[in-house]
C-alpha cells in the first residue's frame, strides 16, 4: 500500500450510520493532516467497543488493545519511544469504568498522551447498557429500568487527577473538535478531551437535537483556560472545576483548563536519566554481533556496590 497522507484506510467503517464516532474519526484525521504528522510518527491506541475500532480506520500506527487498558498500553509505547505522538481513543465505559484507575494514573504522571473520550453514555457494542457517564434516573430506550448509578464527570475527574490539558468537544462539530485535538496533541503533557457523542441506536435521551440546543463554545464567551505562570494554577483550576459542573440548559465545549507550566513525565525522567530523550529505551543498541553492550565486566562496575573484593575492604 502506498503511504496515505489523508490518514484513511481501505477498511470499511462499520459503525451505525449517523454514529457520532464518524465525527470523532474525521476530527482525528483532520487534526493529523493539519499537523502534518507522518503516519509512522503517530500511534492511535484504543480499547474495546465501537470506539475500539477507530485505529483500523486511520492510516497511522494503530494498537487496538483490551477493554479498559488503552492507557497503559499507550503509556508503554510513549515511555519506550517519547518521539511518537500517542493518542488514545476510547469509550466512556472503557476509560471511566473498567479503566478509570488508569485514567487517573495518567493524570498524576502528566505523560504526553492525548486521551479522547467517546462519551455517549452507553455501552454501544453490547447493545446499550448504561455507561459511567449516564446520570442516575435516566432511562434510555435500551435500558429496561432507569439507571441506578450516578454519572462520573470526566472533566472533574481529569482536573483532579492532574491533567494539564482538559477540554470538551462535540463530535458533530468536526472543525471545532479537530482544532482542540490539534492543540491537545501539541501540548506537552497529559491531555483529555471529553467528546460528547450521540449514540443514534441506543441513546434516545442525549440526542443530536438535545445537544444542538445546549452546546456553546467557551472561547466565544471569553473563557481563558491557560495557566501561563504557576502562580495562576490554583485560581484557574478552581474556575475550571466550577465550569465543569455546568450541565443542563447550557453545555460548554472548548478548552477548560490548559496548564503550560507543568512539568511532563518526560521532563521528570530526564532529571534522573539525562540521556532519556536522546537515547530512549526503544532506540538503544543492546548488542553488537550478538555480544551484549553491557557485559559482565561492565556490570561489575555498574553494580560495584554488589562486589566484594576478597582480602580487601
Amino acid at each position: 500500500m502506498a503511504l496515505r497522507m489523508d490518514y484513511k484506510t481501505d477498511v470499511w467503517v462499520d459503525w451505525c450510520p449517523g454514529c457520532g464516532d464518524y465525527g470523532i474519526l474525521a476530527g482525528i484525521q483532520t487534526a493529523l493532516k493539519e499537523l502534518n504528522l507522518k503516519p509512522w510518527e503517530v500511534v492511535v491506541v484504543s480499547g474495546i467497543g465501537c470506539s475500539g475500532k477507530t485505529p483500523h480506520f486511520i492510516y497511522a500506527n494503530g494498537v487496538h488493545t483490551l477493554h479498559g487498558r488503552a492507557i497503559p498500553f499507550a503509556t508503554g509505547i510513549k515511555l519506550a519511544n517519547p518521539h511518537l505522538k500517542v493518542i488514545v481513543s476510547g469509550g466512556d465505559g472503557d476509560l471511566l469504568g473498567i479503566g478509570a484507575g488508569h485514567l487517573v494514573a495518567l493524570g498524576r504522571r502528566n505523560l504526553d498522551i492525548t486521551i479522547l473520550v467517546h462519551d455517549n453514555q452507553v455501552y454501544g457494542l453490547t447493545k446499550g447498557q448504561a455507561s459511567p457517564t449516564l446520570p442516575a434516573g435516566v432511562k434510555t430506550k435500551s435500558l429496561p429500568k432507569p439507571n441506578l448509578q450516578d454519572a462520573i464527570n470526566p472533566l472533574l475527574l481529569a482536573l483532579s487527577s492532574g491533567y494539564s490539558f482538559v477540554a470538551r468537544a462535540y463530535a458533530l462539530d468536526i472543525k471545532h473538535l479537530s482544532n482542540i485535538i490539534k492543540q491537545a496533541v501539541q501540548h506537552r503533557g497529559a491531555a483529555l478531551i471529553d467528546i460528547l457523542q450521540p449514540c443514534i441506536t441506543y441513546n434516545d435521551v442525549y440526542t443530536k437535537n438535545w445537544y444542538a440546543k445546549r452546546v456553546y463554545k467557551l472561547e466565544e464567551e471569553g473563557w481563558d483556560p491557560v495557566v501561563k505562570d504557576p502562580s495562576e494554577r490554583e485560581d484557574k483550576l478552581a474556575a475550571a472545576v466550577r465550569k465543569a459542573l455546568e450541565w443542563g440548559e447550557r453545555v460548554p465545549v472548548g478548552i477548560l483548563y490548559w496548564d503550560k507550566t507543568k512539568e511532563s513525565l518526560e521532563d521528570r525522567i530526564m532529571r534522573r536519566i539525562p540521556t532519556y530523550t536522546e537515547k530512549p529505551p526503544a532506540m538503544q543498541a543492546i548488542e553488537v554481533n550478538g555480544k551484549p553492550v553491557v557485559d559482565i565486566e561492565k556490570i561489575l562496575k555498574i553494580y560495584s556496590d554488589y562486589v566484594v573484593e576478597v582480602g580487601r575492604r
Partner: protein, 639 residues
C-alpha cells in the same frame, strides 16, 4: 561444633525491624572478604516490625553452597522468642547463643507469637517435662546435646553505652550486633575482618562503624573471659579475587541489564519488587565515563497496567519485561493473551509464593506452574522456563529475552521466594558469557505487513516508529495487515501458525538445554524443578554416603517440555524408583510429565509449609521411600 568440616551454618533470629538483615549482611560480607563462600536465606512474616524473622547463614571455605541447610551449628538469638521458635533445631554440638536476662520469659508472655505456634511449642515443652520458659526450652536443647552460651545482653549494652557515651535507649539499637559478633567470634572472625563487614554495610558512616566495632570488641572480650574459644573455619582453598553478592532478585536484575532490557514495569509485590528496586538503583548504564544507555524502571498503578505497558513498549522494539508474583500474575493474564495473539515478545518474571489468594505472602512454594502454563483463554503459545539457582536464573533470564524475540511470544520465567531471598557470594566467572539473539527483524517500509505468513509462522518484526512503516495490532483475530477479520480460512492459517511457533521452538531448542540430569546412581531418581535443585543435589550426596545411589532430573523448561529425554530417563528408572519432589500440596510437575509422556508417578515427596525443602529432610524421605517402601512423604522442617 561441626566446623571441623569445611562449612558451618549459623542461624540468626530476632524480631523484624531489629536489624537482623544488617547483621547477616555484615557477617556474610566479612566472610566473603576472607575468601569464604556464603549462602544466606531469610524467612520472615508479612510484617514490618515485631514478628519473628530468621536467617540461615551458611559459610564454606570450599565452594558456594547450593542451598540453605537445616540443623544449624550455631543458633544466635536476639530475643526470647527466637529461642522458642528454634530450640528444636539444636542437635549434638549445636551452640545456642542467648540473652541470660530472658531465661525466665514465659512463652505465654510473648504476644508476637501466633497462638497456633505458641500452643504447639507449649505442648511440646509440657509433654516433654520442661518449663514453658526460655529456660525450659534451653534445657530441652541442652539435654539433647546443645551447648549453651549465655550472655547478659543488657549488661553488655550498658558497658557499650558507658564507653561510647550513649544513652541506654540509643545503645539498644545496637542489640543485633551482640549475637552476630558472638557468632563471628566463635567462627574466628578477627575484629579487623568484622570491621570491614561493618564498613561496607555503613558506607561513609564512620561513627556507626566505630560504635559497632566497639560493641563487637566488648562481646569478644566477654566471650574470651568466659573461656569460649574460637574455632575458625579452615582457610579457603583457592578463593576467587572477587564476589558478586546477590540475591535471586538481584541476579535477575543484572541478567536483564546484560540481556538488553531497557524498560521494566512493575507494581509492588513480595517477593518480586526488590528486583525492580535493584534495577532502578542502577538505571544509568555509565561505565568509565562512557554512556551505554539506561534502564527505565516504571512503577505502574497495578499489575494490569504493568504488563500492558511492557507489551506496549515491546511494540516499539525495546526489550521489556515486568515482574510479579502469583496475585499480580493473575491480573496480567488477559493482557498476556493479547501479547499471544499479537506475537509480542514480552518477558514476565514470576516469583512464586504461597497461595492461593494472599496465601502465605512472604513464604515460598511451587504451586503456580499450571498458572504459568495454562493461563489465558483461547490458545496461544508461550514459553515457560524455571530456574533452580542463581546461575540458572542468570542464564534463563537471558534465554527468556532471546526466545521471546526469536519466537515472538510471551515468555514466563518462573522463580520463587526461596531463590528470590537467598543471597550468595557468586564468583563472577560462574556466569557464562551472554549471547543476544533478536530473531527476525524487518526495517518495515511501504507495504510491510506485520502478520504476513507467506514465509512461515514467524514474520520478520518491524517496530512501531520505523520510517515509512505503518503497523496495526488488534486483540481480535486479524489479517496479515493486522486488521480485524472473522474469515474462517484466515483463522485457520493465523491461529495454527501462532501455535506452530511453539512446535518450532520445540524442534530448534535442543532438549539438552531444557533439562539436566545430575548423577548416575540407579537406586532412585528424583525429579524436580526450580528451587528443589539445591536440596536434591545435596540429598544425593548424603544418600551416597549412606549407600543409596541416585540421580536428579532437573527440568528447566516446562514449555516446550523436553519430553523425549524425560520419557527415556523415566523409563530407565520406572515407577518404583522415580520420585517426584515439589514444594506443592499436589504434584504439578507430576501431572505435567504424564500429559506429555504417559509416565505416571507413584512416588512423591511434597512440602507445602511455605518453607524451602531442605537437603537432610529430603534425604530422609528418599530413604523412607526406597528402603521402607513408603509411597509418599510430606516434609515439614522449618519455623
Amino acid at each position: 561444633m561441626a566446623n571441623r568440616r569445611n562449612e558451618v551454618t549459623a542461624l540468626l533470629g530476632g524480631p523484624q525491624g531489629a536489624g537482623l538483615e544488617t547483621a547477616a549482611q555484615v557477617l556474610s560480607t566479612a566472610f566473603a572478604i576472607t575468601g569464604r563462600y556464603v549462602y544466606s536465606y531469610r524467612e520472615y512474616y508479612s510484617n514490618i516490625k515485631g514478628r519473628h524473622t530468621y536467617i540461615y547463614v551458611r559459610i564454606s571455605s570450599e565452594r558456594l553452597p547450593q542451598t540453605a541447610r537445616e540443623y544449624p551449628d550455631i543458633i544466635a538469638a536476639i530475643d526470647a522468642e527466637s529461642i522458642f521458635h528454634h530450640f528444636t533445631e539444636a542437635r549434638e554440638g549445636t551452640i545456642i547463643i542467648y540473652d541470660t536476662s530472658t531465661v525466665n520469659t514465659k512463652i505465654n508472655g510473648i504476644v508476637s507469637i501466633e497462638p497456633e505456634t505458641r500452643n504447639r511449642i507449649s505442648s511440646l515443652l509440657e509433654s516433654s517435662g520442661y518449663e514453658k520458659t526460655v529456660k525450659g526450652a534451653l534445657q530441652y536443647a541442652e539435654e539433647r546435646g546443645a551447648k549453651l552460651i549465655g550472655l547478659d545482653y543488657k549488661l553488655l549494652l550498658k558497658e557499650f553505652a558507658q564507653k561510647t557515651g550513649k544513652s541506654t535507649y540509643r545503645a539498644r539499637r545496637y542489640l543485633n550486633t551482640i549475637p552476630m559478633a558472638a557468632t563471628g567470634y566463635l567462627l574466628g572472625l578477627t575484629p579487623g575482618e568484622l570491621e570491614k563487614g561493618f564498613r561496607r554495610r555503613f558506607r561513609g558512616r564512620e561513627q556507626i562503624v566505630a560504635d559497632n566495632v566497639k560493641l563487637a570488641e566488648i562481646v569478644a572480650g566477654y566471650m574470651r573471659e568466659m573461656g569460649f574459644k574460637p574455632s575458625p573455619l579452615p582457610e579457603p582453598t583457592n578463593p576467587p579475587d572477587k564476589f558478586l553478592v546477590v540475591s535471586g532478585n538481584d541476579i535477575v536484575a543484572i541478567a536483564k541489564t546484560i540481556a538488553g532490557l531497557r524498560l521494566q514495569t512493575y507494581y509492588p509485590i513480595t517477593p518480586a519488587a526488590d528486583e525492580s528496586v535493584t534495577l532502578e538503583a542502577h538505571e544509568n548504564l555509565r561505565v568509565d565515563g562512557e554512556d551505554l544507555g539506561s534502564v527505565l524502571v516504571f512503577q505502574t498503578e497495578d499489575e494490569i497496567a504493568a504488563i500492558s505497558a511492557a507489551i506496549g513498549a515491546a511494540l516499539t522494539g525495546v526489550r521489556s519485561s515486568t515482574t510479579t508474583s502469583g496475585p499480580g500474575f493473575d491480573l496480567m493474564i488477559e493482557a498476556l493473551g493479547w501479547a499471544g495473539i499479537n506475537e509480542v515478545p514480552v518477558v514476565v518474571t514470576y516469583y512464586q509464593r504461597g497461595g492461593p489468594s494472599t496465601g502465605l505472602p512472604t513464604r515460598g512454594g511451587q504451586e503456580d506452574l499450571f498458572n504459568a502454563l495454562f493461563s489465558g483463554h483461547g490458545l496461544f503459545p508461550k514459553i515457560v522456563l524455571a530456574s533452580g539457582d542463581h546461575v540458572e536464573a542468570y542464564e534463563d533470564t537471558i534465554r527468556a529475552f532471546n526466545w521471546a524475540e526469536e519466537y515472538q511470544l510471551p515468555v514466563i520465567h518462573l522463580l520463587d521466594k526461596f531463590l528470590a531471598n537467598s543471597i550468595v557470594t557468586l564468583p563472577p566467572n560462574l556466569l557464562p558469557p551472554a549471547k543476544i539473539s533478536r530473531g527476525l527483524i524487518s526495517t518495515g517500509g511501504r507495504g510491510y505487513n506485520r502478520f504476513d505468513k507467506s514465509g512461515g509462522p514467524i514474520t520478520p518484526r518491524a517496530f512501531i516508529g520505523s520510517e515509512e512503516t505503518v503497523i496495526w495490532y488488534t486483540g481480535d483475530e486479524h489479517n496479515t495487515e493486522g486488521h480485524i477479520t472473522e474469515d474462517p480460512e484466515n483463522r485457520i492459517i493465523m491461529h495454527d501458525y501462532r501455535m506452530r511457533k511453539l512446535e518450532l521452538a520445540d524442534e530448534q531448542i535442543p532438549e539438552e538445554e531444557r533439562y539436566r540430569l545430575y548423577g548416575n546412581g540407579k537406586d532412585f531418581l528424583l525429579v524436580g524443578w526450580g528451587s528443589v535443585k539445591g536440596a536434591a543435589l545435596e540429598a544425593l550426596k548424603h544418600l551416597d554416603e549412606e549407600g543409596l545411589h541416585g540421580a536428579y532430573l532437573h527440568v528447566r523448561v516446562m514449555q516446550p517440555l523436553p519430553k523425549k529425554a524425560i520419557s527415556k530417563i523415566l523409563s530407565d528408572y520406572g515407577v518404583d524408583r522415580a520420585i517426584l519432589v515439589e514444594a506443592s500440596v499436589r504434584p504439578l510437575l507430576g501431572r505435567l510429565i504424564p500429559m506429555w509422556t504417559g509416565f505416571q508417578f507413584e512416588r512423591f515427596i511434597l512440602k507445602w509449609t511455605g518453607r524451602p525443602i531442605y537437603p537432610l529432610e529430603l534425604a530422609g524421605a528418599v530413604s523412607h521411600i526406597i528402603r521402607d517402601g513408603s509411597r509418599s512423604e510430606v516434609l515439614r522442617y522449618g519455623a
